[in-house]
Amino acid sequence: MSVLAHESEEELPAWSFPTSAGESSLLPSDWPDRVTREWAWGGATGAGVRVCVLDSGIELDHPLVGTVERSVAVSKDGSEITIADDTAGDLCGHGTACAGIIRSLAPECELTSVRVLGAGYTGSAPVLLAGLEWAIEQGFEIINMSLSTTKKQYVDRLHELADAAYFKRTLLIASAHNMPVESFPWRFAAVISVGSHEAPDPFVVYANPRPPVEFFARGLNVDVAWLGGATINATGNSFATPHVAGICALILGKHRDLTPFQVKSVLHLTALNVGGGA
């Protein structure tokens, strides 16, 4: 079933809010007057939150990654796209790096790998879209996308998927571009887009007053997991993105019912430059 079909499953009327329903149902009951980091994720471990890493795969048994709940690979043969369980691990190291960062912040979250690299360049965009659609169908709370495409013919479909995820309460967290090009999906308002700041604190997030990049997280000289059980030092928005994914896993682990809009609001209110450093 297409992930877009969910809209028709809603009870009618879908687009109105009867005043008799009251004013209370929109916020979690414990939403405080002032959102602090302590309220947002103090004591949280990410337990029960399912995080998907859409990337080059995740190396199995890497000490910095730990258990990977499931690994699938998306492949393309002619026009046929297949999604199958996979044991080949990581083709590059990058997905392992992202998974290790998420694990370091949210030690008890569940990690799933969807490998969308390996179909060559020409198959890359359809494979990416198929992997994303599959991940949204699986109902992950968080999908980490440290990647983007510039291919305009896929933008509409990617946009539909980003909106579908948003309304299904799946957070898409995507790397922004630090080059003067238009790429996607990070430019969509329904995703959380992430660039890098220079501070070494993994919990420091800055809100950007001048979007489309909405948040900055640690992305400079980060020690990350890599192939062969190794650790390397890496820089790039690719590594800032899983920092935000990890923090969101903590927030959702502690406050299960938040919508993507509310999680984004919590990120904003706890950003260091908004006064949420406490």
Binding site: Y121, T150, L220, W226, T235
Partner: protein, 206 residues
């Protein structure tokens, strides 16, 4: 028509060499700015779905130019497919890092910076800078500089590919070249009719 074709040919053949030199100059600058041991530009060959060494400065040298590997291999492949620049250090720790590609070049780097070469919505290849000295921590300003160099390399690579396509057309490898050859040898009246047709086509395409 013959004169025109000769003039176009002279221009195309000359500029191709110039664009190659520009690309080579870009990797030389990349290597110098980052005090790196080597820098390379890989061109994406979409038909073969492979990356090809197009320009090389430093370790590895010109003998690498023309070497190929699959377009989703290792870090260069990841950067190509995801459009995301990357900087990574201490690759030597990683037993499996791009081993096939690295060994085929006879050169296994300790550190690597890689940036996708983008022109509009197309990705043309990857710029890599290998083994910069690891004495100072990397900065976001250097990341921006890498992006700017990548932009310059992308423009050079785009021009080079355009020149190659133009040369292929002039060499009779395309329909347009055959059409031009027919026009050259046609009578004056038919030449005029042919040119009218071309102008009409041009309007249609606008």
């Amino acid at each position: 028509m013959t004169d025109l074709r000769a003039a176009v040919a002279a221009g195309v053949l000359g500029v191709e060499e110039g664009y190659r030199a520009l690309l080579r100059a870009t990797v030389d600058v990349a290597r110098a700015i980052f005090h790196a041991k080597a820098s390379s530009v890989f061109l994406l060959d979409e038909d073969a779905d492979e990356l090809v060494f197009e320009a090389v400065a430093g370790g590895g040298s010109e003998s690498l130019v023309g070497r190929r590997f699959p377009s989703s291999t290792g870090v260069a492949g990841w950067v190509l497919v995801t459009r995301q620049p990357l900087v990574i250090d201490d690759l030597a720790q990683d037993a499996r890092f791009s081993r096939d590609a690295a060994e085929s070049t006879g050169y296994v780097p300790r550190s690597l910076m890689a940036v996708p070469l983008l022109v509009e919505d197309r990705v043309l290849g990857v710029l890599e800078v290998l083994d910069r000295p690891n004495v100072e921590p990397f900065t976001l300003a250097e990341m921006d500089l890498l992006g700017l160099l990548g932009n310059q390399a992308a423009i050079a690579l785009d021009l080079l590919q355009r020149a190659r396509r133009a040369r292929a057309a002039l060499n009779g490898e395309g329909e347009l070249a055959r059409f031009a050859a027919r026009l050259e040898h046609a009578s004056e009246e038919r030449q005029a009719a042919g040119l009218d047709l071309l102008r009409a086509l041009e309007e249609l395409l606008d």
